[in-house]
Amino acid sequence: MAATRSASGPGSRALPSAGFLAGLLPRASPDEAAGIAPAPARILVVDDDWFVRLQIERFLGCAGFEVVGIATDAAAAVSLADRLRPDLVLMDIRLAGPVDGVTAATEIADRFGIRCLFVSAHTDQGTITRTLAARPAGWVPKPFTEAELLQGVRAALAGP
């Protein structure tokens, strides 16, 4: 199942200033030179749990990021990544359907050059090693707090 939406919602607040996000957002905009706040980083969220998605959307929205799409399985994740070309994908490992998040992340990285930040409770060494094929942008272990998620997202967006 896939859906596209904006992250703006009841809990959203004003975008952070350009200074706050300096160096964190990957896409420079001509608007910056004109003193206009840069466009928020666009993020695709892939997780099959409604409550987890609720938290991610809320935390990202409040921090000024734009959730451009939601996917609950690997096929939808790849399809949305192709269509929306987000700056970052937040990827769970265990997804709805037979294909897991590592496979989806590897395909997204190989085909579109978009990297994934893994957000998962699978933190054993074997799984982490397996994700290296996807050239991950980072890891946020579940259960996460708002601060931990945002720290992981900002580091991933600032990364090489």
């Binding site: 749990d49 987890v52 609720l54 409770a121 707090t145 601060a147 931990e148």
Partner: protein, 356 residues
């Protein structure tokens, strides 16, 4: 070598011994050999060894041929028939006496050791039984290793589910916060979410490790403190965790984590109102408990505005008091400097539990 000399040589041997000519004729037999055969010397000397043996003639000839070819002991076996028809299986060490061109040669000396064939059979049976036992042990070990691997997999799956469930629980509380209308309800749900976040941190810290008995207190306290610090976003308040080399038992660590979470939350909420600056210091001391086991003393001290709250006030402090009591300890809250700072002290006792 004179026959008399050979006779004396055989007489000093404890074990049965025969002196046999090259064609297999028995020339001499010592007393133990005669006893073994159950025959007088006259029925032995001069007879062919094949007649005295229970083994097939060809086997006896082969043994003699081997012995004739060596001046050092050749090891073989020889079964002898006694006068009453019984058979004695012997281990035989035999060799040639003298040089091959010796006129008296070749004379063969056969030294016998009774019953070794039986012992060999017993030994063989024992080895077979041992091999079977080793195979059984290997199968049992393989089964145990498979069960251990299965248990490890189930444990990892269990931890994964617990962590996911905690994340879901945080989502439920977040939803409650979003829908709460009354400020008191919002605050209560928010506090509950912070407590569950503290528990989630414990889950991550504990179950990322191979060994679950104890955890390093310094790392643990720092992680809990960092979680609260992130939640309140008060950079003007310095949070210090004093060094400690203590380790925490698992069952006590979860309570200690919740207690620290409450005390730090309390300090961040109340000690520095209106954006005031200051510091909060966390310390942990471990000492032997005179009643047995260990006694942990956690202190959280701030240099904020002091407290005018009664120690029983608030859900958070009630939780701290309850957890202290649960671990046979106590909770005290005092003004370290009147009107200026607050010092909270919690003692928790730990006595190792008897294995289930």
């Amino acid at each position: 070598m004179a026959m008399e000399m050979l006779q004396r040589l055989l007489a000093v041997l404890d074990e049965p011994a025969l002196l046999v000519g090259a064609c297999g004729t028995v020339r001499l037999a010592n007393a133990p050999a005669l006893r073994l055969l159950g025959r007088p010397e006259g029925e032995v000397a001069g007879r062919s060894l094949q007649e005295l043996a229970a083994d097939p003639p060809e086997a006896v000839r082969t043994l003699l041929r081997r012995c004739a070819g060596s001046r050092t002991a050749v090891i073989g076996s020889l079964a002898l028939s006694t006068a009453d028809g019984a058979t004695h299986s012997c281990r035989c060490r035999g060799g040639r006496l003298g040089e091959p061109d010796d006129p008296a040669a070749p004379l063969l000396l056969l030294r016998l050791e009774e019953g070794t064939r039986d012992r060999s059979q017993v030994l063989t049976r024992t080895i077979v039984a041992l091999n079977a036992e080793i195979r059984r042990s290997k199968l049992a070990q393989d089964a145990l290793e498979a069960a251990l691997e299965q248990k490890g997999m189930l444990l990892r799956e269990l931890h994964h589910r617990v962590k996911n469930n905690l994340q879901v629980l945080l989502g439920i509380l977040l939803l409650g916060e979003q829908q709460a209308k009354a400020p008191e309800a919002l605050a209560a749900i928010h506090d509950a979410r912070l407590r569950v976040e503290a528990m989630a941190l414990l889950q991550r810290l504990f179950y990322g490790k191979d060994r679950l008995e104890r955890i390093e207190a310094a790392t643990f306290l720092a992680e809990v403190a960092r979680g609260v610090e992130r939640a309140f976003r008060r950079p003007e308040v310095e949070l210090r965790v004093l060094p400690t080399s203590a380790t925490l038992p698992l069952d006590l660590a979860s309570s200690l984590g919740l207690v620290l979470n409450e005390l730090l939350t309390n300090a961040f909420k109340h000690a520095f109102p209106d954006g005031g600056t200051g510091a909060v210091t966390v310390g942990l001391a471990l000492e032997p408990d005179p009643a047995g086991g260990e006694r942990f003393t956690l202190t959280v001290e701030d240099d904020g505005r002091g407290t005018d709250a009664a120690p029983d006030a608030g859900t958070g402090l009630m939780l701290v008091r309850g957890l202290a009591q649960q671990h046979g300890g106590a909770f005290t809250i005092e003004a370290a400097a009147p009107g200026r700072s607050t010092r909270c002290t919690v003692t928790l006792r730990h006595r190792p539990r008897a294995p289930c």
